[in-house]
């Protein structure tokens, strides 16, 4: 069952340099690398199309300079795209007036930044309440909401601290609280954990998944870390040189990379980490003894200990809990050690 599309972005270009719009028209909307270089124009985003569906975690993955940050800024219209079309819940984002845009951002969008972007002169509480302050919400209401958010991100007791008194991980928790305080539908996270130590990063990823299971937002998540992308994503768009190379689920990306670049990236990813039970199971369900049921959406790596420890195979269930196949330890171990070619 397809979920409704919240953000629909088609053929978005972002060029930097002189007279970019004319330039693009002159080249019928798709200039070559040569033409770009000749005109002294830098292309940050080239012909990017993505559809982001309600409730999914959509990860945009790319190395630095791949245009992922620019793309997310186009999606939130922090940066004005040179060409293309972006629809938010059906209405044309690029045609919106300044006031409509402000309204949209106040009510429907939230964003978390790589370097936290907290206001140094405000306390944790005031930072978290800032979006409501800007909207003119009275102090008592906004501080109450901000306190709730601070509680959700686990910073209770530090409301009166200033950002400089907090660790990086704590600061980003404040950034998350701020981005969620106005209860947005669409949540942008621009490399939110890249500036953190590896251990803290892991912890924050878990925290993020916990929050998402609670809040069910539609999420656009930017990262340069492929492991992070695989851990968090429902779908991933891999970017290189301003272009989207491939958009797919983590599993598809690893199994069927559509370009050499994506393949290069996914080559060293352990299959078991991305392969779901539903894609490695056998579809027959012979009568017999089973050790239990496992959801088809869980990965092999996730369930291998359970499967291996049991003396009998497991039934695999679908979205509605119906049985769709079975898996035994042998198959699972094959995937783990890479014996199957699949």
């Amino acid at each position: 069952m397809e979920r409704p599309v919240i953000l629909d972005c088609r053929g978005v270009w972002k060029l930097y340099g002189p007279h970019t719009r004319n330039f693009l028209e002159k080249h019928n909307g798709s200039p070559t690398d040569m033409a770009l270089a000749e005109a002294n124009i830098i292309s940050a985003v080239r012909d990017a199309s993505v559809k982001i569906r309600k409730g999914e975690i959509f990860v945009i993955m790319g190395l630095s300079g791949s245009g992922k940050s620019t793309l997310v800024r186009c999606l939130s219209r922090l940066v004005e795209p040179t060409a293309g079309e972006i629809r938010f819940e059906g209405s044309d984002l690029l045609a919106m007036s300044e006031n409509e845009l402000i309204h949209l951002r106040r009510k429907k969008m939230g964003m978390v930044f790589q370097h936290f972007a907290l206001l140094p002169h405000l306390t944790v509480l005031q930072n978290a309440a800032f979006p409501l302050d800007v909207q003119g919400v009275d102090r008592r209401t906004r501080e109450e909401k901000a306190r709730q958010m601070i509680d959700i991100v686990g910073l209770t007791g530090r409301e009166d601290y200033y950002p400089r008194q907090l660790s990086g991980g704590q600061q980003q928790r404040v950034g998350i609280a701020r981005s969620l305080v106005a209860d947005p539908d669409l949540w942008f996270l621009d490399e939110p954990f890249s500036a953190l130590d590896p251990l803290i990063r892991r912890e924050m990823q878990d925290e993020f998944l916990r929050l998402q299971s609670m809040l069910q937002k539609t999420i656009v998540f930017i990262t340069h870390d492929f492991d992070e992308a695989i851990r968090l994503a429902d779908r991933i768009a891999v970017m290189k040189g301003g272009r989207i190379e491939q958009t797919a689920t983590p599993e598809e990306l690893v199994l069927n990379p559509s370009t050499p670049y994506v393949e290069e990236f996914t080559r060293h990813v352990p299959r078991a980490k991305v392969m779901k039970l539903r894609s490695v199971m056998s579809p027959d369900v012979p009568d017999g003894v089973y050790a239990g049921e496992l959801s088809g959406n869980r990965t092999v790596a996730d369930t291998i200990h359970q499967i291996d420890a049991a003396t009998h195979p497991f039934k695999v269930t679908g979205e509605e809990g119906e049985v769709i196949g079975t898996i035994d330890a042998r198959t699972a171990i094959d995937v783990m050690i890479g014996r199957t070619g699949a």
């Binding site: 800024r73 939130s76 922090l78 402000i102 309204h103 949209l104 951002r105 106040r106 009510k107 969008m109 939230g110 964003m111 930044f113 790589q114 370097h115 936290f116 972007a117 907290l118 206001l119 140094p120 002169h121 405000l122 800032f130 979006p131 302050d133 800007v134 909207q135 009166d160 200033y162 701020r178 981005s179 106005a182 942008f188």
Partner: protein, 681 residues
């Protein structure tokens, strides 16, 4: 990439070529240029006699551009005849005066005069001014609020000094000017800074104007203001605001630009409107940097309020000025010390505000006086002492019989020095004059103007490209064509001698401070204090000891311009990469070798930037030394001021600015190329 490195390295190899027997083009160029200049300078007079061509040493009178007359006439027309229909230009200046005069009068009444109704003899006292005790306690509590009790003690002692040494009234007049000029300067500077931040085109337009305003000597500001606004405190205030505003504009623009892009995006993403983005996101985030600007405005204001006493600002500056004119040693030093004390108090106080950290909120349940005990106490003291002043004069004015005076002490000290050390001081003076000052003076003033234009153009073109060469030549021509060649060369001579001496003293001090933390704390504190003092103050001891003349001027300039030489040298030494020093150590360098082979070469760009700042400060101070009888461009501006000759003042002022601009561009280019050579961009 490799190509770029090789290109940069090429100039560095040039000296090696020189050693191997073939002098490089660069060396030939510079030595040749100097020799020609030296020869022409030495024999210019002889040439003039031989060919009977007076134009060689004097720019022909007939060809002078009478820009000064044009400016004076234009101003006359502005002031006398310009009419916008409903109002005249005069009305505009009067209107501006009135706007500034009203708050100034209130402030002055509050601090010194008391509020009165009516004029002259019929005046009736309505309310007394704040008592001196009240003002001291306000200052102390501000210090307490901004930092801690140590600052409070310092500020308290400073203000108590003003009362105890009989400088109170003058100091309060000065303070009133500062308190009015600073908010105007800060608000105006911030407003212009915001506009420049929002409109890059406006910023591009504003930048050269600001550059010029910061290089035009202070006196040159006074002349047009004097002509347009007349003599008096308001005119002085206007000059002060104009003088103190440019750094605030610059700092605001830079501060706003350096707010991280992400923070701005965060503001936009939560749906800030333009105004909200500016006042709730940008300005609070930039606040620490903006406060540095405020501190600068305060210090420049104080500096200018003192100088503006020449056009009627009154206060401490006026006391110093009259003391200087009467050669009243004791009075001058006392008033000068009062300025020093005030400068230190204001500087430390505003710096404390700049780094002040917001404190946690107090429980709002407590009654007001418990949450703000100091504030409540200060209000109580202020009200009580001011009211009590109506009955007890001791509260109103510091009791005269308790006033201390050090005037006689200073008089006798200086007299004692002059009696006992006259010969040695005189000997030093004579030696320096004969060995250094006079030969340099002869060299510079001997250069024929025509060759001067060529040599400046060539040198600037060689260092920073032909565009700047043409500009520098044009500026030099402007100076010559205004008939100011000799004065300009006197300025250049005094400036170069002073900069040389300041560097000879300052750079070793800086190197020492850069290597030795203990020396650094002492030298740093000394330099900080020297830099907060208004430039005027430097004249006092110098005149007392060395009387008037070029030598005194040079000493004052050296003292004033010392700070950047020390500071940049220390900074340059300290910022040498620790790894490089370690590399030197493991290669077996002695500490002397580390200094000469590693630290100094790497600190070269920093030293050059320090040199640039030293030159700029020297030029600005040089103009003020006109008061001790130099015969340079500064004197020209000063004469224009006394005659209220606007054209003469502006032309001479511009000439000074041009010298400063040429020096600035050339030295900055040198610093940049040495940075590139070291790969330190």
């Amino acid at each position: 990439m490799t190509d770029g490195v090789h290109n940069r390295a090429r100039p560095a190899r040039a000296p090696t070529a020189g050693l191997s027997g073939f002098p490089s083009f660069s060396a030939v160029f510079w030595i040749g240029l100097f020799l020609v200049t030296w020869a022409l300078s030495t024999w210019s007079f002889a040439l003039y006699k031989t060919f009977d061509a007076r134009w060689i040493i004097r720019y022909p009178k007939k060809l002078e551009i009478p820009l000064d007359t044009w400016i004076s006439n234009a101003t006359n027309w502005l002031v006398e005849d310009l009419n916008f229909g409903f109002f005249t230009f005069r009305d505009v200046t009067r209107f501006i005066s009135a706007i500034i005069e009203a708050p100034y009068d209130i402030m002055r009444s509050l601090l010194v005069d008391g509020f009165m109704i009516g004029q002259g003899q019929q005046a009736i006292d309505v309310a007394p001014p704040l008592s001196w005790i009240a003002i001291i306690s306000i200052a102390v509590s501000l210090a307490l609020y901004a930092k801690d009790r140590w600052l409070a003690i310092l500020v308290g002692v400073c203000f108590a000094y003003l009362a105890a040494f009989g400088q109170w009234d003058s100091a309060m007049v000065t303070l009133a000017s500062v308190l009015i000029a600073v908010p105007i300067g800060v608000a105006g500077g911030l407003a212009l800074g915001i506009v420049a931040y929002r409109l890059p085109a406006f910023e591009r337009m504003l930048r050269p104007v600001l550059d010029l305003m910061q290089t035009v000597p202070v006196f040159a500001y006074l002349v047009p203001i004097l002509v347009l606004f007349g003599f008096g405190p308001v005119a002085a205030l206007i000059a002060t605001v104009i003088y103190a505003m440019p750094p605030m504009v610059r700092i605001s623009t830079v501060a706003l630009h350096s707010v991280p892009e992400e923070v701005i995006e965060a503001g936009r993403m939560v749906g800030c409107r333009r105004g909200q983005l500016m006042w709730k996101v940008l300005i609070p985030t930039a606040m620490p940097s903006l406060m540095v600007g405020v501190n600068q405005v305060i210090m420049l204001t104080l500096n200018m309020v003192i100088i503006a006493s020449m056009i009627g600002a009154g206060g401490l500056g006026y006391d110093v000025l009259t003391a200087l004119r009467r050669l009243d040693i004791g009075g001058g030093i006392e008033a000068g010390l009062a300025i020093v004390v005030m400068a230190i108090a204001l500087d430390r106080l505003s710096q404390a505000f700049a780094v002040r950290r917001v404190r946690p909120h107090l429980d709002p349940q407590l009654p007001f006086h418990k949450r703000h005990p100091v504030f409540t106490l200060v209000v109580a003291i202020a009200v009580f002492t001011t009211l009590a002043g109506a009955y007890l004069p001791a509260f109103r004015e510091y009791p005269a019989r308790l006033t201390l005076t050090t005037g006689t002490f200073w008089n006798s000290t200086i007299e004692w020095i002059n009696v006992n050390f006259f010969d040695s001081i005189e000997a030093v003076k004579t030696v320096l004059l004969n060995v250094l000052l006079l030969p340099v003076k002869r060299f510079f003033t001997g250069i024929p103007w025509a060759w001067g234009i060529v040599v400046v153009g060539l040198a600037a073109a060689r260092i920073c490209g032909w565009k700047l060469g043409v500009m520098a030549a044009a500026m030099t021509f402007f100076i010559a064509a205004s008939g100011l060649w000799r004065e300009a060369m006197t300025t250049v001579y005094l400036c170069s001698v002073s900069v040389l001496i300041a560097s000879v003293i300052g750079i070793p001090l800086g190197i020492w401070a850069g290597q030795n933390p203990r020396a650094n704390s002492v030298i740093g504190a000394m330099i900080d204090t020297l830099q907060t003092l208004p430039s005027f103050v430097y004249l006092i001891p110098v005149v007392m000891l060395f009387r008037v003349g070029d030598f005194s001027a040079m000493i004052a300039v050296v003292l004033y311009a010392l700070a950047p030489a020390v500071r940049y040298a220390a900074h340059g030494i300290r910022s040498v990469d620790e790894e490089l020093i370690e590399a030197g150590k493991v290669s077996g360098c002695t500490s002397r070798q580390i200094l000469w082979r590693i630290k100094l070469p790497l600190a070269a760009p920093s030293l050059l930037l320090g040199l640039n700042q030293t030159i700029m400060l020297a030029i600005s101070m040089l103009v003020i030394t006109a008061l001790v009888g130099t015969r340079d461009l500064g004197q020209e501006v000063y004469i224009a001021l006394t005659k209220a000759n606007i054209g003469q003042g502006i032309v001479a002022g511009l000439s000074v600015a041009f010298i400063a601009i040429i020096a600035d561009r050339v030295v900055t280019a040198l610093a940049r190329s040495s940075q590139q050579k070291l790969g330190l961009t």
